[in-house]
């Protein structure tokens, strides 16, 4: 049987969910103390049965799947991947190391610049982007640092 890319894409999500289900069941039934895993065992059993059912249905009746996704169009991937990469770097690296407000300013400016359809060769476009970024970060600082007293990780540019 020849397996094409579309089939693989369709089988990947239920396959991954099934693997997670089996892993949850394996841990629930092997770890001790057993009493602490009594409830997770019930959940894990149902988890495996349901994910197996979804996987089998995807294999046997792919036309019945309400998945639009079985393939996210390439253009859509191309659209969101740069923004998602910026978001992931923001959350997992920049926010804690550079500081919340500095990294937020950079990320907001980058996302607006990347996704704003306004032409880049006009100074008015850049001024608008800078004003939106500065205004938003000022509101966030006022709200979280001054009103709500949230102590965020130390900033590298200011205290």
């Amino acid at each position: 049987m020849r397996v094409d890319m579309r089939t693989l894409e369709r089988l990947l999500p239920p396959g991954l969910i099934l693997i997670v289900g089996i892993w949850v069941a394996a841990i629930s039934y092997t770890q001790s103390p057993a009493a602490a895993f009594a409830f997770p065992r019930i959940i894990a059993t149902v988890f495996v049965v349901l994910s197996l059912a979804v996987f089998i249905r995807t294999v046997l009746r792919p036309e019945a799947e309400d998945v639009t996704s079985a393939a996210i169009p390439t253009a859509e991937w191309r659209n969101f991947l740069p923004g998602l990469a910026i978001g992931l770097i923001y959350v997992y690296l920049a926010a804690a190391n550079v500081g919340f407000y500095t990294s937020t300013a950079v990320v907001v400016f980058l996302l607006i610049t990347l996704y704003d359809p306004a032409p880049h060769n006009r100074s008015a476009t850049w001024i608008r982007r800078i004003v939106i970024t500065a205004g938003f970060v000022a509101v966030m600082y006022g709200l979280f640092a001054i009103i709500l007293n949230v102590f965020s990780p130390r900033e590298i540019l200011f205290r």
């Binding site: 999500p13 239920p14 969910i17 949850v24 841990i27 770890q31 001790s32 103390p33 009493a35 602490a36 895993f37 009594a38 409830f39 997770p40 019930i42 959940i43 894990a44 988890f47 349901l50 059912a53 979804v54 249905r57 019945a64 799947e65 309400d66 998945v67 639009t68 996704s69 079985a70 996210i72 253009a75 191309r78 659209n79 969101f80 923004g83 998602l84 978001g87 992931l88 923001y90 959350v91 997992y92 926010a95 804690a96 919340f100 937020t104 990320v107 907001v108 996302l111 607006i112 990347l114 996704y115 704003d116 359809p117 939106i132 938003f136 966030m140 709500l148 949230v150 102590f151 965020s152």
Partner: protein, 500 residues
């Protein structure tokens, strides 16, 4: 008439300002396509953490009410429903606005929302204590089945695939078990150090509802806006008031449909608006005019989706089963303030719950008054480009999830769950049952463990959990909701193919 004694706290300066802010902000955010009521309430929860419980709940209740009504603004002026609940409003609302009667459409929409919303909140006031009184007889086994019922019903009746709805609920229940076990102190599923404290509900709510929205906005790329706001001319308000009163049949149908659907756990407002629209059309003498800018269509749809709000909180406050996805998020808001909904909620927290309910009544009036004034302005804000919206929502999600416990782990978990949810949604999973599983998981497990201990001293676990009238009724409802939804799914699937 106990509720009358608790109007005072609603009018305390801070509470009233929050009610006002929540209403106006909710109207604007509700009018913004891409920002759903559920996500708005989820993003607001961290702010309530710094408020007194009653103030926090007043803010969330106001946002819930007004985002649903605000969605009509963009439905009418932009032809884009602000929320799924406003889909039916688009059919006649935009047609009316295009014919130069935008102000009339908005007035009819907010006045119908007011009537439906007020009746819905009165149902909440009068039905909740009755249901709570009845639910007082529940023991651990019944409470366990109620929690399972909550996850099952929202998973099966929420639309889409029954299998995936149930699986999403199951994933939520599993996520709730991550961390240290409460009784034995054993580590469970801690495969990364950041999971040591378990999954914080608020961080999870923000991630599951906000991050998929951010990615969806980014997926639009550098596209220009392809809609324009229709300008709103003046229209005599009293004329609209008379028109709404004259369309009492549409108001009645909308309110009745919305209230009934709100009471059914898990169904939600998107269905209420469409069913009410359809029924109003069936009973109308002018059914040919529906879809051409007819006032009955707007009135029925908007009275229904706001009438749904109050009753959706009846099963939430008494049984911990939310009537809609937004009510599920509200459940998270109650829990972080240490208020666990249940039959004795009115006995334990009367000073919080009654002012909250009353604020929803006052909020309906504010929503109507401000909605009429700021509709045009809200529609202009709704035109903000999606690049700005995505950046703002992402930053709010990061700040919001961090501020709950001042922990970066919550931010990491929020993002991971959010990105995962985006792909799960694309594969046909809904976040609502997953959230319900996550919220109701500890309640289900707590009652399961307690019930198991009692069962050991009696006739065993099977006898304890699977006998007794109430247990059997609850199990029957669980099975019936799964069976009915599976039947509907099969029928819907075979319909076009086999003509069944």
């Amino acid at each position: 008439m106990t509720f009358l004694a608790y109007f005072g706290p609603v009018f305390e300066p801070v509470s009233f300002l929050l009610l006002l802010g929540g209403t106006i902000g909710g109207l604007i955010l509700g009018a913004t396509p891409g920002l759903s009521p559920t996500m708005t309430v989820a993003l607001l929860i961290p702010f309530t953490f710094h408020l007194q419980p009653v103030q926090g709940l007043i803010l969330l209740g106001a946002a819930y009410t007004s985002t649903v009504a605000g969605g009509a603004v963009s439905a009418i002026l932009l032809k884009i429903p602000g929320a799924p609940a406003n889909i039916a409003t688009t059919l006649d609302g935009h047609q009316m606005a295009q014919s130069g009667q935008g102000a009339r459409a908005l007035q009819l929409s907010f006045l119908a929302s007011l009537v439906g919303g007020v009746i819905g909140v009165f149902l909440l006031i009068f039905l909740t204590p009755i249901l709570a009184e009845w639910a007082l007889s529940f023991g651990p086994s019944e409470s366990f089945w109620i929690a399972i019922l909550g996850v099952t019903v929202i998973g099966t009746l929420g639309g889409g695939s029954v299998l995936k709805g149930l699986l999403a609920g199951c994933i939520g229940l599993w996520l709730a078990t991550i961390g240290f076990d409460d009784i034995m102190g054993a580590q469970r599923f801690i495969f990364h150090p950041s999971l040591g404290g378990g999954i914080n509900i608020i961080a999870a709510l923000i991630g599951l509802f906000a991050i998929p929205q951010v990615i969806s906005l980014l997926a639009r790329g550098r596209r220009h806006r392809d809609v324009d706001v229709i300008r709103v001319a003046r229209h005599p308000l009293m004329q609209s008031v008379r028109e709404v009163l004259g369309r009492s049949r549409s108001v009645g149908i909308g309110t009745a449909v919305g209230s009934i659907i709100g009471l059914i756990p898990g169904v939600g407002g998107q269905i209420a608006g469409l069913v009410a629209y359809d029924q109003a059309k069936n009973f109308s003498a002018e059914r040919d005019k529906f879809g051409t800018g007819h006032s009955e269509g707007i009135i029925a749809a908007e009275s229904a989706n706001n009438a749904m709000v109050g009753p959706s909180l009846v099963p939430l406050l008494t049984l911990s089963i939310p009537g809609s996805p937004t009510a599920a998020v509200l459940l998270g808001g109650l829990i972080i303030h240490g208020i666990f909904p249940g039959p004795d909620i009115f006995r334990l927290y009367p000073n919080v719950v009654w002012p909250f309910v009353n604020s929803m009544l006052v909020g309906q009036l504010l929503m109507c008054a401000f909605g009429l004034v700021i509709a045009g302005f809200a529609a202009r804000i709704a035109m903000v480009h999606h690049s700005v919206m995505a950046a703002v929502v992402l930053a709010l999600a990061v700040f919001g999830s961090y501020s709950v416990q001042h922990s970066m782990n919550d931010v990491y978990i929020m993002m991971a769950l959010g990105v995962g949810m985006y792909f799960l949604e694309r594969y046909g999973f809904s976040p609502a049952p997953l959230v319900l599983g996550l919220i109701l998981g500890p309640i289900a497990e707590g009652n399961f463990v307690e019930g198991a201990m009692i069962a050991r001293a009696q006739d065993g676990i099977l006898m304890y959990f699977f006998t007794g009238t109430l247990n059997l009724v609850l199990i029957g409802i669980v099975l019936a909701s799964v069976g009915y939804s599976a039947w509907l799914e099969l029928r819907g699937r075979r319909g076009p193919e086999g003509g069944v």
